[in-house]
């Protein structure tokens, strides 16, 4: 028998069940993409809310700004592994289960959306105030300014922000996997670590890295495509 702690054990790929690996990869990508869609939507809405209520002096705007800021700051600060435990009752109500990829979605969204909202808000603040003023001078409504100016003009920041958020979401799904959400994290922990199959852990790691790199590459490519600020 080989020593399960030896360096060579990492390369005993006979231990790897490729079917399991594939389905775990699919689960990870699925969890990430599905939660990313919601994170994108909520993040933009929260980001717009933060941007539009910053620096306003009406009572409504001040209160809304404070509430949004508090919500964002709290959920951005809670470590994910604690958040997922904290949200178990909510998860059960929403998805009917506390295990499997579906159960991970609510906590993934709640932890990543506030983080993304801040990045979106920063993107909006980077837009030249003169451009917004020009749109106001044309008679644009607030909604038109959001849709035609704020979002298109900060699109590179919005896209690179969602790339970064997506990559941390992949990390979160791995953590969620440890407490039963499935995916590559779960595979590495249960089939790898707990079953003393180092090759499985290594393979899961490599696959996660590949997923992250592909994600980053797509994000970078998209930003390069949209960004027309520099002369090509």
């Amino acid at each position: 028998m080989r020593d399960p702690n030896s360096f060579a054990s990492y390369f005993n790929f006979a231990q790897v069940n490729w079917n399991n690996l594939w389905s775990a990869t699919v689960e990870t990508v699925w969890m990430t993409l599905l939660s990313l869609v919601f994170v994108f939507i909520f993040g933009i809405i929260l980001g717009l809310l933060l941007f539009e209520t910053t620096g306003k002096h009406t009572a409504g705007a001040v209160i809304l700004n404070k509430l949004t800021a508090i919500f964002v700051n709290i959920f951005r600060s809670i470590p994910f592994i604690i958040l997922i435990v904290l949200l178990i009752p909510l998860t059960k109500k929403m998805t009917g289960t506390i295990i499997g990829p579906r159960a991970a979605i609510p906590s993934l969204i709640i932890s990543a959306a506030p983080f993304y909202a801040r990045m979106v808000e920063i993107g909006f603040h980077e837009i030249d105030a003169g451009v917004i003023e020009a749109a106001e001078a044309m008679g644009a409504s607030r909604l038109q300014i959001m849709w035609k100016v704020l979002i298109p003009e900060s699109l590179p920041a919005i896209v690179s922000g969602i790339t970064v958020t997506g990559i941390s979401l992949i990390g979160y799904t791995a953590m969620a996997g440890v407490i039963g959400a499935g995916g590559l994290g779960n595979l590495a922990y249960q089939d790898g670590f707990q079953a003393n199959q180092n090759a499985v852990t290594l393979t899961a790691t490599v696959v996660i890295l590949i997923v992250v790199f592909i994600f980053q590459a797509i994000g970078d490519f998209a930003v390069r495509k949209i960004d027309k600020r520099a002369i090509a």
């Binding site: 001078a137 044309m138 298109p152 003009e153 027309k228 002369i231």
Partner: protein
């Protein structure tokens, strides 16, 4: 007509209060180009933003025709703003849109369909001379081209008024000339009222019929451009006119003092010509009539304004005192403004 009725705008900061616009009353007639000159911080930018209500006055009213802009809100204000184009020092184009899409933006906001937008954009691209650059992004354009896009965009809704906020201040002299020519052409073709904010007297001289000079929120002087150039009243106005008409004032002073040293009995005159006089041979006429007068030209210049040509000439006259007095009297009968700088 645009009318300011006793308008003030006061900003409160933590430390102090700033009277950005201080009891301004002003009338701007339809189809004219009206210049507002002042140094930065004089309140010009705030003043122009009161017209389209980007800034709300603390007191007073701003009327466009018979509408009090200060009372408008929401939809009514947005509809009114569509009739007022605005261009900016830094162009404020959307980098994410091509030339054509930037020009179409105000039309999109108004809800026009694609065909209507395209037709209008084509006309405007022609008007501002950007044919062939429709699909370029702002980052691919020069400053002058960007301002042309800004102008086309501002004209998309066929406005009655165009506000120009330091529109040429970020451009080099040659490009400034091109943009000013374009604004003149637009004013003549479309009869749009233009309000031009600038710190460059040159801009006002070139395109404006009437002007106001602003200092710390107040209008210190206003009137026809030619009158103000000929007879500036306020110290600030004199400074602006001097800078534009004779930027090398100090040089002239040196030359004058040198001449005074060399020919202590000379009479130093400053003549100001305007309109048709600038084309007449008034000086040679004087020399013919008073052959005893000897003449030295110290310095001279001539400028074109919307009200006609405007010239300055510094002369040294040498001769008998009675002859000189007659000579100056002759110049006065020709309605040339004469100013005796030194009579030794």
């Amino acid at each position: 007509m645009i009318e300011f009725k006793d308008v003030s705008k006061i900003y409160h900061t933590r430390q102090n209060t700033i009277n950005a616009v201080d009891h301004v009353s002003l009338k701007i007639q339809d189809s004219e180009i009206f210049g507002i000159v002042g140094y930065s911080g004089a309140g010009k930018s705030t003043l122009v933003r009161l017209i389209n209500n980007l800034e709300r006055p603390t007191s007073g009213s701003v009327y466009i025709d018979d509408v009090d802009m200060t009372t408008l809100n929401g939809k009514a204000l947005r509809t009114m703003r569509q009739n007022i184009g605005m261009i900016f020092q830094h162009f404020n184009l959307l980098w994410s849109r091509t030339v054509r899409d930037n020009i179409e933006l105000p039309l999109e906001l108004k809800g026009l369909n694609k065909a209507q937008r395209q037709q209008k954009a084509d006309e405007l691209i022609d008007l501002v001379g950007l044919k062939g650059r429709e699909t370029a992004y702002p980052s691919e354009l020069s400053g002058g081209q960007k301002q042309r896009v800004g102008i086309a965009r501002a004209l998309a809704n066929d406005p009655k008024i165009l506000l120009c906020d330091e529109a040429t201040s970020a451009l080099d002299p040659a490009t400034t000339e091109e943009v000013l020519e374009l604004l003149l052409k637009i004013n003549q073709q479309l009869h749009i009222t233009m309000v031009v904010i600038t710190h460059e007297m040159h801009v006002v001289r070139k395109i404006c019929q009437n002007m106001a000079v602003m200092d710390t929120g107040k209008i210190v002087e206003q009137g026809a451009v030619l009158d103000i150039f000929r007879h500036p009243q306020a110290d600030l106005t004199k400074e602006f006119v001097q800078e534009e008409v004779n930027p090398e004032k100090d040089d002239t002073k040196v030359i004058v003092s040198q001449l005074l040293e060399q020919v202590p009995d000379g009479l130093i005159l400053k003549l100001t010509f305007h309109g048709e006089q600038a084309k007449l041979p008034i000086i040679s006429e004087m020399l013919k009539r008073f052959p005893g007068i000897e003449l030295n030209i110290i310095e001279g210049n001539i400028h074109q304004t919307q009200g006609g040509a405007l010239g300055n000439l510094y002369l040294q006259l040498v001769g008998e005192q009675t002859l000189l007095t007659q000579g100056v009297a002759f110049l006065n009968t020709m309605r040339v403004d004469t100013e005796v700088i030194r009579n030794a």
